[in-house]
């Protein structure tokens, strides 16, 4: 599992990243690119249902490089 993670990180971030300027983030700021979508409450419902019906806990995703315009 550890090796899959390292490989995934290398594929994700190694050699294929371009420097995106702050004024080039129009697409990244769109609702369609948001982690919870346009409606965070819906995401909360979904997570709650899976937490109630399955044994897995933890692992909510964090994403903050999308817009960076705060």
């Amino acid at each position: 599992m550890r090796y899959i993670t390292i490989l995934a990180a290398a594929l994700l971030f190694g050699g294929c990243v371009s420097e995106v300027q702050p004024w080039e983030k129009a697409t990244l700021a769109k609702d369609g690119m948001k982690e919870g979508g346009a409606n965070p409450l819906v995401k909360k419902y979904e997570e709650h249902i899976y937490y109630s019906k399955e044994a897995t806990k933890g692992g909510g995703s964090i994403g903050a490089g999308g817009c960076g315009c705060n």
Binding site: M1, I4, T5, A8, A9, L12, F13, C16, V17, S18, E19, V20, Q21, P22, E24, K25, A26, T27, L28, A29, K30, D31, G32, M33, K34, E35, G36, G37, A38, N39, P40, L41, V42, K43, K44, Y45, E47, H48, I49, Y50, Y51, S52, K53, E54, A55, T56, K57, G58, G59, G60, S61, I62, G63, A64, G65, G66, C67, G68, C69, N70
Partner: protein
């Protein structure tokens, strides 16, 4: 079975990612097959900026949970389908319940000069036999001037009280048979994540998480059978450590189409490992209408102490939630914007577990930006 309170970390990390002020009203209707659990849950969320540096997010939900949950019970007692003890007629079937749950949480986001963010949240959840309190914090730090890379560290602590209404045939109880007893458990979750803007149309993230909980982790409503003749309350271990890793990727495929994909691996010392693959496509038909759909695949292995029947094992559970199964969710959603400020959303999901559990859940709501 009751819906338990979700760790606030997921809500911390979903809300507050953007600076719009809004109020949202949402409604969930959840129904399981075979007249099992049914949930109606209206909720309200308010997100408000105070200047450039502070955002307050508050959400409240009221669940009405009713229906039935399958477990073993002594059918001869007649008094209550939760009846335990020696029995000549042990059955596995739905046991009725009716429950109200109120939950809320509040999160304050503080932004600093470099626009790093600190989020602090508190939450609670109450039912007639379950109380939960949670505190959490996370810090997001930008690693570069253009805000293309960030690292986040988050943690939450949760403290819960569970009421065992009837201590008969329950190894977790100290109280005498038939009496009630208040049990507690607590735990924490930690997460470390890295997010990277790949290009003008895609972003990826990777994270690791670790959690630990201890105390009474069983359910007083789930029973087991020992020696084929006696119904007891289940007993799960009183400690659980878990860890995992999550990968996420979001990509804009042109101007109107967005793809999300994520993978999560989970493992704990109860012997449960799981994999979750979640995908979604969103399509902006025009300025007003967005359609979406997706599939989620989940699989988990069973806990070391899971079985359908027991003899003298100390830890024992027949709770399907810790059995091995896989599950598919098919999702569809739409969002319609009446104006720049007011939008309506509708979602439909079909959840299908290999245990035989099937559920549909619908969400619908309004969001108003002000």
């Amino acid at each position: 079975m009751q819906l338990r309170k979700l760790s606030i970390i997921a809500s911390l990390l979903v809300a507050g990612a953007h600076a719009d002020d809004y109020v949202a009203l949402e409604y969930l209707q959840y129904n399981e097959n075979d007249s099992r659990v049914s949930v109606s849950a209206p909720s309200l969320e308010i997100n408000k900026d105070f200047g450039a540096d502070y955002t307050l997010n508050a959400s409240f939900v009221l669940d009405s949970v009713s229906g039935a949950s399958p477990t073993y019970y002594d059918a001869t007692s007649g008094a209550s389908a939760h009846a335990k003890g020696p029995s000549g007629d042990i059955r596995y079937g739905n046991v009725n319940f009716d429950e109200q749950r109120a939950a809320g949480n509040v999160t304050l986001t503080t932004r600093f000069a470099n626009r790093d963010e600190l989020k602090v949240g508190v939450g609670y959840s109450t039912e007639s036999d379950f109380y939960s309190y949670e505190g959490s914090a996370s810090y997001m730090h930008y690693l570069d001037d253009s805000h293309n890379q960030s690292i986040s560290l988050g943690g939450s602590y949760q403290s819960n009280e569970v009421l065992i209404k009837d201590c008969s045939y329950n190894a977790a109880c100290d109280a005498s048979s038939g009496a009630s007893q208040k049990m507690t458990n607590d735990g924490y979750q930690l997460q470390l994540s890295f997010s990277q803007v790949i290009d003008t149309t895609s972003v990826a993230d990777i994270g690791v998480f670790y959690g630990s909980e201890s105390g009474y982790l069983s359910s007083p409503y789930h029973n087991i059978v020992r020696n084929a003749n006696t119904v007891y309350a289940e007993l799960k271990p009183d400690a659980r450590d878990n860890y995992g890793v999550k990968l996420g990727y979001k990509k804009a495929l042109g101007e109107s189409l967005f793809a999300h994909a994520s993978y999560k691996y989970y493992s704990d010392d109860w012997g449960i490992n799981s994999h979750t693959i979640d995908t979604k496509l969103l399509y902006e038909v025009n300025d007003d209408l967005t359609l979406g759909g997706g599939v989620r695949y989940y699989m988990q292995s069973e806990a070391d102490f899971y079985a359908k029947a027991f003899t003298a094992e100390k830890f024992a559970s027949s709770d399907e939630r810790v059995s091995d199964f896989n599950a598919l969710t098919y999702k569809a959603e739409l969002e319609y914007k009446f104006s720049d400020d007011l939008s309506y959303n509708l979602g439909a999901n079909l959840y299908d577990q290999s245990t035989g559990l099937q559920a549909t859940f619908f969400t619908t709501g309004l969001k108003y930006k002000f």
